[in-house]
């Protein structure tokens, strides 16, 4: 323990003085420990925040007046993605109407870089190029905008988009939760303006049975 030893003055001579001891404590180990703890806390607090992905579903009650209010969408713009067992992804373009044969063929693809992403990028070329160029300009410093402005600008571009695909995501009963998250993620990566998660219908279920394995 550190003690303060007062120097006794004025007593010279025979008496043995107690040995002069340093009053300093070596704080190095303490500092070491503190550094470690601080680093630990800083790192853990920053990384423990969970990330979320927000999806908004249409209100269920509006389903009743579906026929009246639903916007008419061009069939060639619709891209149907069907998720199935074992991370398989199928897609077809247009509408599958049993009254108007032939039914479109399901094309099999996957979640890899050259899979569904290539198709989405190809379909969404105009909007994707626009957004990517805007981002590039910002990165290279040609335009200076705040993060919020960037977000609203991109939102505006998405809203004004009239050419890009309208993606309908349908999941088979055997699909995993991961697949849905992956496909919504793909939408975000490819800057798809409009997409929705919808229920699979019986026609598509039949198509899936005959689809390439």
């Amino acid at each position: 323990m550190a003690e303060i030893i007062q120097e006794e003055k004025g007593k010279k001579g025979g008496k043995r003085r107690p040995k002069k001891q340093s009053t300093r404590i070596d704080m190095t180990p303490m500092v070491d420990l503190m550094c470690l703890l601080i680093t630990f806390f800083m790192l853990t607090t920053a990384f423990s925040k969970a990330k979320v992905m927000v999806i908004t579903m249409p209100d269920k009650e509006n389903k009743d007046d579906k026929d009246k209010n639903q916007p008419q969408i061009a069939a060639f713009r619709t891209l149907n993605i069907i998720l199935s067992e074992g991370n398989k992804v199928y897609y077809y373009i247009g509408m599958a109407d049993p009254k108007k044969p032939p039914l479109p063929a399901l094309i099999k693809t996957d979640f890899s870089k050259d899979g569904i992403r290539k198709i989405l990028l190809d379909k969404n070329r105009d909007l994707f190029t626009k957004i990517a160029e805007y981002r590039d300009k910002r990165v290279t410093g040609k335009i200076v905008v705040a993060d919020t402005t960037l977000d609203s600008e991109i939102k505006k571009m998405k809203r004004d988009d009239k050419k890009g695909p309208i993606v309908l995501i349908k999941a088979d009963e055997k699909a995993k939760y991961k697949d849905i998250v992956n496909i919504i993620d793909e939408m975000a990566i490819c800057n798809i303006a409009s997409y929705a998660i919808v229920d699979i219908n019986s026609v598509e279920k039949d198509m899936l049975k005959n689809a390439p394995k």
């Binding site: 303490m30 990330k51 908004t56 269920k60 190809d122 939760y177 990566i189």
Partner: protein
């Protein structure tokens, strides 16, 4: 004459101010850090590029585990005086005609996620051994005859009006089950979900665009 040798001294830096500063930092970090509460089940979330962080208060979370069990969690709210959890338990107790004691309600207020039928809730609260506690966690029933999860969601929505809803599903859960949870939430007028994911960076640039087909 011999040279006068200066006494050899080890250089000594006064570390006191440094230590002071570090102490302050450490105390600050310790107090502000919110530790991740013990979760009822191990859930590996799927990965996404989303960088949005989950709100740290006013959040209702529904856990969907790999084995199909469903757990529920709600926090006490940003304001420490609100005690949403305790209020929620009282309401649920009224609904199912179970009387919880004050101690039980207080205890429930400090806990986190749970997944068990309401009838087992009292036993669960009074069990001390964590092993026995885990045995009681059989998932919240959500069959059409007795949809307890719907009750939890409904009452939680009424207790904490501003609460957001998060779904934390295991990557390998069947989508069917998650869909069921989503449908249930939509029946309770929740149309915006936060899907809890792990961050994974992926970048796509103009170079990745496939060549245009002419």
């Amino acid at each position: 004459m011999p040279k006068i040798k200066p006494p050899v001294r080890t250089p000594h830096i006064d570390m006191t101010p440094m230590v002071d500063l570090f102490s302050v930092l450490l105390i600050f970090l310790l107090l502000t850090a919110s530790f991740r509460p013990q979760e009822a089940a191990v859930i590996t979330t799927p990965q996404s590029i989303s960088e949005k962080t989950a709100p740290d208060a006013d959040l209702m979370t529904i856990f969907v585990a790999k084995d199909g069990k469903v757990y529920f969690n709600i926090d006490n709210g940003r304001d420490t005086s609100t005690h949403f959890r305790s209020k929620l338990l009282e309401k649920i107790g009224e609904q199912y005609k179970i009387k919880f004691t004050k101690a039980e309600i207080a205890k429930f207020g400090t806990m986190s996620s749970f997944g068990l039928p309401i009838k087992d809730l009292k036993t669960w609260l009074n069990t001390k051994e964590s092993k026995d506690k885990d045995k009681l966690q059989t998932g919240i029933p959500m069959d059409s005859t007795d949809n307890q999860l719907a009750w939890w969601v409904r009452e939680a929505r009424l207790t904490n009006v501003g609460a957001e809803v998060a779904i934390k599903g295991d990557a390998d859960t069947d989508y069917k089950l998650v869909k069921k949870v989503m449908d249930l939430l939509q029946d309770n007028k929740v149309n915006k979900f936060n899907l809890v994911t792990n961050l994974q960076h992926q970048e796509v640039t103009l170079k990745d665009l496939p060549p245009a087909a002419k």
